[in-house]
């Protein structure tokens, strides 16, 4: 990968998580944006990394506790008498 700016692809990679999470200063963000405008590979890595995180976060809320698992949990905690008073 080649680049035209001060920020190397390696440095860019090291800051990518913080950039995506909004934890970088404005100056550092601008440097990354300038780098990506001139570096197609880093642009693709950024786009697909953002998409990767988005896909996982979008699927995150799924998966309620199955009722039978919940029942056995209450049983092992000796809380079965309280099982149906919730929800």
């Amino acid at each position: 990968m080649t680049h035209k700016y001060d920020l190397s692809c390696k440095e860019m990679l090291g800051n990518l998580s913080d950039f995506i999470d909004g934890d970088l200063s404005d100056d550092a963000c601008q440097e990354i944006q300038r780098h990506m405008a001139g570096c197609e590979n880093c642009r693709v890595v950024y786009d697909t990394l953002t998409r990767t995180i988005y896909l996982y976060q979008a699927s995150a809320a799924e998966g309620e506790l199955p009722e039978d698992v919940r029942g056995r949990l209450y049983q092992c905690l000796r809380l079965d008498d309280l099982l149906n008073t919730k929800k």
Partner: protein, 206 residues
Amino acid sequence: MTQANINESIDLALLRSGDRVQFARLVDAYSSPIYRLALKMLGNQQDAEDVLQTTFLKALKYVADFEGRSSLSTWLYRIAANEALMLMRRKRPSISLDEEPDDEDGEPRQPLQLADWGALPESELVSAESKKQLDLAIQALPEKLRVVFLLRDIEGLSIRDTSEALDLTETAVKTRLLRARLHLREQLSVYFGERMRRENLNDPQI
């Protein structure tokens, strides 16, 4: 229920004194996320259920000592993550977690997969087959990276809470998180890149 609602509905003083109704509220509030974490860490329902039960049995045993330095959820995640890691060690005693090649040290690997799949339509990305790939990719992560990714990106803990739950510095959490995300991106790029290639082959204009 939001985090604030949950915390308001549980009376900490009563919980610590051993009140069963309060403990049942704690179980109802957090059993789903704890089970989800265990399932994604261990990849099998029986192990996940074992970790779920052990986590709340330990919580019941030690709740009187809960000092409130971290939130209840971070405290429970901490117990659950430890239980899950211990179960992994018991199941594969020959592999020490410290000997995993891809731990927190060193720089992230250079990205290898450069398929530009970011613009694939949403329907392609969230199909049942794609979701299976997401799960497989998580299972393929080194354990140290997997637990950080699950707490931060799936369960939505802050960097600070993740570091408290895992007894790591915030810098270590950030480094592992980046490595985990890049790992997953590589794996999904192989899969979605192949999907793009197949679709181009099926395109009647070619």
